[in-house]
Symmetry: C2
Subunit: 329 residues, 2 copies
């Protein structure tokens, strides 16, 4: 392996001078810089980031923490969008590596996680989709050993930022459009998780709308599960005008139930996953750009790592209507 030492020898300068050239220090004469760069070129020198990290104590390593079931048969495209967005942005910013980390995060393993991140010299965490009520995450973030950005959860301290859309507003908007268009008055709302930050926000949106328009909204919790939404729809849809779900996946469950029951009710979703295209029903929903959200989180993390303090970033959302696809007769 050709090292900075070889370059120095070749260029007839000191090691420190080569390092200065590498790191674009100002106090190097043009002539010397020239010589060094020539030597680098000739020897095909590639700086060793491991040595650099050890010496400078800056690794530029980020971990993207996804809370997924290990054996997920993931029909769910959201994690992939997060990964794509985060990795591309990290590369752009010269943050060397994004570690993706799947786990069932449980309280008992937090210490293990901290040790793992520490041993890997990870400087920043991007944590996706975990509520602030999740003790494990709280502990992880509160350990103070890492800068963190939370996606879809509110920040917890000055070392922490959060990135998410305005869920309450988005839910309000899409539901309003949906309700006015379909003329519905009695709604079945299938919410996400009890105590989940995102779920609570969306619920706020619905409640606001209900107040404003004087709607009757019957609320049940679907745990973001297709099956659960299906059951709830079976049970409660009959005497309602329409169904609003806190996620597209649950909306699919609802649609399946409606078909089973052989009744028609308009359905409104949330997320705008492209999978919906294959489910084939026309539907109002909120489109989130998960890839941009993750990219924003990486950018924000890089800010935090430069010593700035935490803040809350609201990403834009879009109201869309999934198009009717002809694969469904």
């Amino acid at each position: 392996m050709v090292s900075i030492r070889d370059v120095a020898k070749r260029a007839g300068v000191a090691i420190s001078t080569v390092s200065k050239v590498l790191n674009h220090y100002p106090n190097v004469s043009a002539k010397t810089r020239e010589k060094v760069n020539a030597a680098i070129e000739e020897l095909g020198f590639v700086p060793n980031s491991i040595a650099s990290a050890l010496s400078s104590k800056k690794t530029g390593r980020l971990a993207l923490v996804l809370d997924m079931d290990k054996h997920a048969q993931s029909v769910d495209e959201i994690p992939m969008q997060y990964i794509i967005g985060a990795i591309n942005k990290a590369k752009e910013l010269g943050l060397d590596i994004i570690t993706v980390f799947f786990t069932m995060i449980q309280e008992m393993s937090v210490d293990e996680m901290i040790r793992y991140f520490q041993s890997q010299s990870i400087e920043g965490l991007i944590i996706c989709g975990l509520s602030k009520h999740d003790k494990a995450i709280y502990k992880l973030v509160k350990s103070g050993k890492f800068k963190s950005v939370l996606i879809d959860a509110p920040g917890v301290d000055a070392n922490t930022s959060s990135v998410h859309i305005d869920n309450a507003k988005a839910q309000y908007e899409v539901a309003k459009k949906f309700v006015l268009e379909s003329g519905s008055r009695k709604i079945l709302y299938i919410a996400g998780k009890k105590n989940g930050y995102v779920s609570e926000e969306r619920l706020k949106g619905i409640r606001q709308l209900a107040d404003e328009l004087g709607l009757t909204v019957f609320i049940r919790t679907g745990n973001f599960s297709e099956l659960e939404a299906r059951k709830l729809t079976m049970q409660y849809a009959k005497n309602k005008d329409a169904i609003i779900c806190a996620s597209d996946l649950m909306a699919i469950g609802a649609m399946k139930a409606l078909i089973d029951m052989d009744i028609y009710r308009p359905v409104c979703g949330f997320d705008g996953v492209s999978l919906m295209g294959y489910a084939g029903k026309q539907m109002h929903t909120v489109k989130q750009d998960f890839s941009s959200i993750a990219a924003g989180a990486v950018e924000e993390l890089s800010r935090l790592m430069e010593g700035e303090s935490g803040r809350e970033i609201i990403m834009p959302h879009e109201l869309i209507r999934i198009k009717y696809l002809d694969v469904i007769s």
Copy 2:
């Protein structure tokens, strides 16, 4: 940061002794080991993998190379399955990190990629779904700077292994079952890519079956594109008995076309992606366990990194029939 030095001091031993304990060397007495472990515990010492890597020249870093469009709206779940399988296995084997790397791999950027991997001290590559005819990959692997495992492409040298199912056999088997069951004689076969390894193999399987059963098979190339398959089906399906596609995604395209044309033809797919469940038609297909395939690739890479030489690993496949889902009326 508490270092091995602190531990040594606390335990009243030399640094090298602590290192020996850490790495489970045999020549350390039980008593000393005890003392050291106690000190580690008391100080909450976590070994620094960066320093370790620098010193030992072993990073245990792997890169999972996925050739994806940067902005893919990825309905495609296969990359995610690769990632899940690879990361989990890597963690299990103590291979520190999996870098996931998205790129449009083009010949011009190969040198850049090599430099990037080198600077990151990456020791092994897992390269997914690229044909051996792809010059970029060939160059990358042939650079000899990394141990590589190719998924869905044949190995190229002694430093390289390959992992894939027996595509010819799988295509033969699923098509045979499909053809016999549906009694088809005149088949439209929509192949994958020209010169793609996987595509060619599957084509072999179809040809063998055609010979054996005396079928008439009309072959067109769909480039693994839903849209392309749809067009080809439009154009050629009318006077055929059935359609066999080299991927599920193309099968979906074919089904859409059949619906447009308002004719019925049985369709056979390949891959077994769970997305198919949402497309809703009953269909024969080959199920690949992409997660296990990636896990196998990591395991194999670890073997290569220990100095073993390259080989070809055939993973099992399964013939399945996607169940009729009631979301489709």
